[in-house]
Structures are given as C-alpha cells and as structure tokens.
C-alpha cells in the first residue's frame, strides 16, 4: 500500500508534467520537461522554510498534513472499491482545506484564493448530478457494484455520456491553468497557496500528485470499468492530454463567469437526470 501510494504520488506528478508540456506545445512553446512537477516537489523541499509572522501557525501547518492525508485516504477507498460518496466527501473536504490554506496565511492573496475556493464549490454540483445518474443506472454507489454493472452492460461512458462529461468538467475545474482555475489565478499571485513555500509547498505538490492520480483513476473506473494497470495508466495519460488541450485553448474565466458556466451545465445535467429518471 505504501509502495502504491508513492507510485501514485510520482505518477500523478508526472501526469501534471505531461499536462504542462502539452499546454506548452499547443501554444508553440517548448515547455518544461514532463518530469518538471517531480523536480518542483524536490526543489521546494530543499528551500528555506518558516511560518510567516502573519500566519496562524497551527492551521498553516495542519492543512498541509490534512491535504496529503485525505487524498491518501481517497486512494485507499478507491482501491478497496468503496463508496463513491466517501471519495466525493473527501473532494468536498479538499475545498475546506483550500479555504484553510488561504485563510491561515494572513496574506490578502491567500485569503482571496480561499474565498474563491468557496465560490468554486459550484463546480461540485454537476458532480452530485453525475453521482445521481450513476446510482440511477447501477442501483448502487459502491465502486465494486458499478464495475460489475459495466462488466455486464458495457461502459457507462456510452450509456450515460453526459454524466461522464459532468465528471470531466469537475476534473477540469481541479486542473491548473484551466478555465475554472480561479482559486490560483495569476492576479492572486498563486491564490490560496501563495504563502505556502518551501517544504509546505513540497507537501502540497505531493497532495496534488495523489489528487490527480485519484481523480483520473476514478473517472476511468466509473465510466470505463476496471481495466489492467497498463490500460489504466495509458487511459490516464489520454484523459490528461485532452484536459491539457482544453486548458490550452480556453482562457481563464472570471469568477462570475466560471460559476455561471458551471451552474448552466448543472441545469442541463438536472434536466438530463430527470429525463433519464422518467424514461429509464
């Protein structure tokens, strides 16, 4: 398990590196090497580290520990084939952690990032509709049952494609440089993580690696099914490349527009779920 967790951390960081590389190539820049995010994590762990004088010391440190802990827990729930509600509960908890990151630092940039993480909670609503649609068809929220359903009936991607699109949108909102990345946009320096430097940022990078791995693993498991590990890793790379294309070709939306787009999509999803409920 610990070996798998370490693998997930490094592979997740590699996926984020591929994400950056593809964005750069789409924009006709050479871009960093694909292992850049791994180097980032190591680089930050070799930088001088202290707690800013304006920060709430215990919260400032605790959020980093919690961030790594909750995504490690999410990975284990996913591997055990547990309930997707637990994973999405952890996803919601991550919002609170982001908020904690921003508010603990005492920096106005961090605080704005923290406030925006609450605003961007709108991105979670399509997630609930996606979960509702999956539950409607499979009759369960356990990942093992969802996988079993797909073995008998084919991938959910082809049965409920809009639910897959909703989940894709949720993952997109968690990607850096994306249209919904309002929590870390450049006008806020680095948003909620502005003041978390050195080892704190290295910890955050570890969390980002595990989070990326878990979200892509979850997407493939929920909509394609359980596949051999090499297919899974290949599928993750494919999904991250498509996400990178979207991020490279769309501007970052303003917070208001970001929430509006997500709410419109939620409305579409609710109608879709309602129609599926009537005709299923």
């Amino acid at each position: 398990m610990i070996a798998y967790l370490l693998f997930a951390t490094f592979f997740g960081l590699l996926l984020l590196g591929i994400h950056r590389k593809v964005i750069a190539r789409v924009q006709r820049r050479p871009g960093p090497p694909i292992w850049q995010e791994i180097l980032h994590m190591l680089k930050f762990s070799f930088k001088s580290t202290w707690v800013p004088v304006t920060a709430s010391e215990s919260l400032f440190v605790a959020v980093v520990l919690i961030a790594i802990g909750i995504w490690s827990a999410a990975l284990f729930v996913l591997l055990a084939g547990g309930s997707i509600l637990i994973i999405f509960g952890i996803y919601m908890l991550h919002k609170i952690v982001e908020h904690g990151f921003g508010l603990s630092s005492g920096s106005p940039y961090g605080k704005f990032g923290g406030v925006r993480s609450v605003i961007s909670a709108a991105s979670e609503i399509p997630l609930f509709v996606s979960v509702a649609v999956i539950a409607l068809f499979t009759g369960s929220l356990e990942i093992t049952d969802i996988v079993r359903y797909q073995q008998a009936n084919g991938p959910l991607l082809f049965i409920v494609p809009l639910a897959a699109v909703a989940m894709y949108l949720v993952i997109l909102s968690k990607m850096p440089f994306g249209p919904f990345s309002i929590v870390e946009s450049k006008e806020l320096v680095s948003g909620y993580k502005t003041e978390h430097f050195g080892v704190w940022r290295a910890g955050l990078e570890v969390c980002n690696g595990i989070k990326t791995y878990v979200l892509l693993f979850l997407f493939i498991t929920l909509f394609i099914g359980m596949v051999p590990i090499w297919w899974l890793l290949g599928g993750m790379i494919l999904v991250i490349i498509t996400l990178a294309f979207v991020c490279a070709l769309t501007p970052m939306l303003s917070p208001f527009d970001s929430v509006t787009v997500q709410m419109v999509f939620t409305g579409v999803m609710v109608i879709y779920a309602g129609l599926l409920g009537v005709f299923a």
Binding site: T49, V64, I68, G69, A202
Partner: protein, 67 residues
C-alpha cells in the same frame, strides 16, 4: 537540538508505517488499520523529512546590524 527533534519525528513516523506494514503482512492487523496508519503517518513523514534536511546544524550567525 531542533534538527534532532525533527529527525526523531521523521523516524517515528517512518517506523510506524514499517511496523504497520510488517504487522499487516503477518496478518496481525487488518488492511484498513494499516491504511489508517499510513493516512496519519505518511503526511507527517513527508513534511518532517523535508523540515529535517533543511534545518540548520548550528545556530544562525549574528545578524549584520550596520556600521
């Protein structure tokens, strides 16, 4: 002193994971307990490892206060 304390915390977190790993492999503790130990100890190990190797070995210089 601080560096020693940071090393101690790192070692305790690392050893806790290793002990849980061995106990799980021997069938002494269930998988969920092993995973719970990792969820708590792994973040501590990661952070304190970084804090330990960047902690100075000796007290800092007397700051320059001007001519």
């Amino acid at each position: 002193m601080r560096k020693k304390m940071l090393l101690m915390i790192t070692l305790v977190a690392g050893m806790t994971i290793l002990i849980a790993l061995s106990l799980n492999a021997a069938g002494e503790i269930p998988l969920w307990l092993y995973q719970a130990v990792i969820v708590i100890a792994f973040p501590v190990f990661v952070l304190f490892l970084g804090l330990w190797w960047m902690a100075p070995d000796r007290e800092g210089d007397i700051p320059f206060i001007g001519y």
